[in-house]
């Protein structure tokens, strides 16, 4: 295949990955804001898209350190990058179908490691860097963000003695600002990663070509072209605007029912974690940070309200991201290195898999209109409907006492939970009246 055609295909694939990164991660900034009603769903993704675009164009420093020494950059070819992108896109689409918030960056790194392993073996992968720069931060990030979120939520609820209407409004405004900052931070890190990938491909292509200066040629060590910056920024912004409502439902409603105070605490903790880690040189996943923060804020208000089943599913997703994306990347790299037919076969497989996943997602469509209607995402079967308003701390006692069954006082242990009450007094079954049979 001519090198120019290959470069164009790889750049387009990188932009598709950037798009999937946008819609996969739009929930990071806006899920809590949408679930608490701080923003209307469509306005939330529009603002997140703008902030992602601004963040992506802020500078190009992150773009220059794309592989961060995880693999040997000198061994990377356009085929390797293409295979890594295919692995990351497919894993992003699969986790989106399941509504699992997993890290797009980890998917990319896993697929890149898999592709390099197939191409050159263990020599091309720096194991120590993988442990210290990917695995350890992946464990620490959600714990730190969760702890910060837990502490700030406890503090917030300790000072909120009354549920004054104005308080809710003020925290909603504060949450609007904090979620925009998280979107900006996401654009700055993830938008630039794709710029780095494209730049890497252009440099590899320039080294492989016969030396003629092309419109896409790039010298090693130079910064990204203006069209790479613009294209990557637009792709992530468009992806963010398209929503990713399945993941937004899991992140905003699936782990815990949250209030504006909690949303503000979670977003602030996530923002602090991202900024602090960036300053100290740790490349944390925004997905891990925000998920940890949401869980922490859920624990900070009422520990029983955290849905551990959803949290467990997410944990399994995180553990599987690196090896699963690595396997797909390795398979794609094996095919892509077979020549033109292999390269085309990978493209066909990618298109077919994407179409199948899109079709499966259509069975249980999640949209801006129904994103808050349930707390679970299902591929098959119908999702359970969520209560219209989340229960608030201390607000259960009054309506419960008023609806107690006869003979049961509010001191009765069974009155402690609304669930117990429903067990005490099951609804009476209606008798079906059969029509009398007439003879003859």
């Amino acid at each position: 295949m001519p090198i120019e055609a290959m470069i164009i295909i790889v750049v387009l694939t990188a932009l598709v990955f950037d798009f999937t990164n946008g819609f996969h991660d739009s929930a990071n900034a806006m899920a809590t804001a949408v679930s608490t009603g701080a923003y209307k769903p469509k306005r939330a993704v529009l603002l997140a898209a703008i902030m992602n675009l601004v963040g992506a164009c802020l500078s190009t420093e992150v773009a220059k350190t794309i592989s961060s020494g995880i693999v040997d950059d000198t061994l990377v070819t356009p085929e390797t990058v293409f295979a890594a992108l295919v692995g990351a896109i497919l894993w992003n689409l699969f986790t989106w179908l399941l509504g699992l918030p997993s890290s797009s960056s980890h998917a990319m790194f896993g697929a890149l490691i898999g592709a390099v392993l197939v191409q050159v073996g263990m020599v091309g992968v720096h194991g120590g860097v993988v442990l210290s720069k990917i695995l350890l931060p992946a464990l620490v990030a959600p714990v730190v963000a969760g702890l910060a979120s837990y502490c700030s939520t406890r503090l917030a609820y300790a000072t909120l003695t009354t549920h004054h209407k104005g308080s809710k409004k003020r925290f909603r405004h504060a949450q609007q600002a904090s979620s925009l900052l998280v979107a900006l931070a996401h654009g700055t890190s993830d938008g630039q990663k794709t710029m780095g990938i494209i730049t890497l491909v252009l440099i590899a292509g320039t080294l492989q070509s016969d030396g003629g200066q092309q419109w896409w040629s790039q010298a090693p060590g130079s910064g990204p072209h203006w069209w790479v910056i613009g294209g990557a920024g637009l792709a992530i912004a468009l992806g963010t605007y398209s929503g990713g409502w399945r993941i937004m439902r899991t992140m905003g409603k699936g782990m815990a029912d949250i209030e504006p105070v909690q949303g503000f605490a979670a977003e602030t903790s996530a923002m602090a974690a991202i900024l602090a880690s960036s300053h100290f040189g740790f490349g944390l996943s925004t997905t891990h940070v925000v998920s940890g923060a949401v869980m922490g804020t859920g624990l900070g208000r009422t520990p029983g309200e955290v849905r551990w089943g959803t949290a467990g599913r997410m944990g399994v997703g995180w553990l599987l991201t690196l090896p699963a994306a690595g396997l797909i990347g390795a398979g794609a790299a094996f095919l892509a290195h077979q020549g033109t037919w292999g390269f085309v076969a990978v493209l066909v497989i990618l298109a077919a898999a994407a179409a199948s996943i899109r079709s499966l997602a259509g069975r249980n469509h999640v949209s801006p209109e129904n994103v808050n209607d349930s707390h679970e995402v299902r591929v098959f079967g119908k999702a359970t409907e969520a209560p219209s308003t989340p229960p608030t701390q201390g607000a259960l006692a009054t309506p419960l006492a008023a609806s107690l069954p006869e003979g049961i006082t509010s001191e009765h242990p069974a009155a402690a939970t609304p669930l117990a009450l429903t067990r005490l007094k099951p609804p009476k079954k209606k008798r079906r009246i059969r029509p009398a049979r007439t003879k003859g």
């Binding site: 700030s152 003020r170 503000f264 740790f282």
Partner: protein, 73 residues
């Protein structure tokens, strides 16, 4: 494998400290801005104190962003 444990500890401390400080300031500002009784708005003095605290909170956030600029540029 070299792991910079001190940097990890600093990230944890800064994250928890910053989050608690920002949320704490917001809660304090909210307490000042909430009218004590059934009144529509809080007295002028409380509103000024609340506004000042929100301003301080904004400055901390902007300071955090400025802190991060050397990394991005």
């Amino acid at each position: 494998m070299h792991v910079d444990w001190l940097a990890l500890f600093k990230v944890s401390a800064v994250t928890i400290g910053a989050a608690v400080a920002i949320v704490g300031l917001m809660c304090l500002a909210n307490w000042f801005l909430t009218p004590p009784d059934e009144a529509e708005t809080a007295p002028r003095g409380r509103r000024l104190a609340g506004g000042f605290l929100i301003g301080v909170m904004g400055l901390i956030i902007i300071g955090g962003l400025v802190l991060i600029i050397p990394y991005f540029h």
